[in-house]
Subunit: 145 residues, 2 copies
Amino acid sequence: MTTSFETLAQQFRAQGHKLTQPRRAILRTLLATPKPLSPAEIQERGQKLYGDLGLVTVYRTLELMETMGVLRAVHVADGCHGYALATPGHTHHVVCERCHDVVEIVGCDLGHFLDRVAETTGYTITGHWLEISGICPACQRQQAR
Amino acid sequence: MTTSFETLAQQFRAQGHKLTQPRRAILRTLLATPKPLSPAEIQERGQKLYGDLGLVTVYRTLELMETMGVLRAVHVADGCHGYALATPGHTHHVVCERCHDVVEIVGCDLGHFLDRVAETTGYTITGHWLEISGICPACQRQQAR
DNA sequence: TTCGCAATTGAAAAAGATTTTCAGTACAGA
DNA sequence: TCTGTACTGAAAATCTTTTTCAATTGCGAA
């Protein structure tokens, strides 16, 4: 469940994309924190790794990574959202509503429920998007003081 | 699961909000379609009911209704999103990825799973956001031609 | 029914977010 | 080492959302 730079790099190459310095900076920035980051935050932090990182490039790279399935938009409480790495496949995010840390989890037990949804609605179910909100252990400790 | 104009109007009054002509137009517009609508679409359609409907008022009213729990942002495939009415309480949306119709469903069977997520991550779970995508019966019939 | 207050409104302006353009650069394969 | 094309970023443009402020209106009280 923890992605490495090399894993991501490999996925870029596997799909015929160049691994440029701006892109390396973006990948390292996303890997450096468990928090979802906005495009502007990614640019700001990424520029510490590659001084010329442009905001347009950040937008383009995030879109590419979303298409590759290695990154996902994450919603924080008030609707504003950032991006967090995601392991391709059936994974979901748990987001701390205090500090916004994100944890990835695998699977979600919705199988039978989705079958029933198909029955009652007549829809052919093709997918789902689940995000869980909560309070992380560190914020729980902080709150108990 | 089907909200009426009167139900919504009652909820406005119950929280001390005025039921103005712009707001009536917005409510009727949202009730008139099962599709999620963008603020601009709500304004465009709402102006057929109240000619002076301003976009700012649409934004303010949508925010108010979200706060009241009677409306929710809905994500369509490419991330752009609209707003759809939602019955307060434990309900989720099923969204057709062809025509973007939305159906509301109650409950979701995640109880035990969320317990397990709490165990494995250490998070105190406070809520979740689930959206199911599929193909509605009408689009299935269309596709079978 | 009338009045008054404060919530509500919408145009204009501003701010924020995202995309497009285009000339220059750089990555990777030959 | 060379070359082609993917990639880049500044500038401009577009889109989305919010703020300002004077005017309007809904509703409760009299």
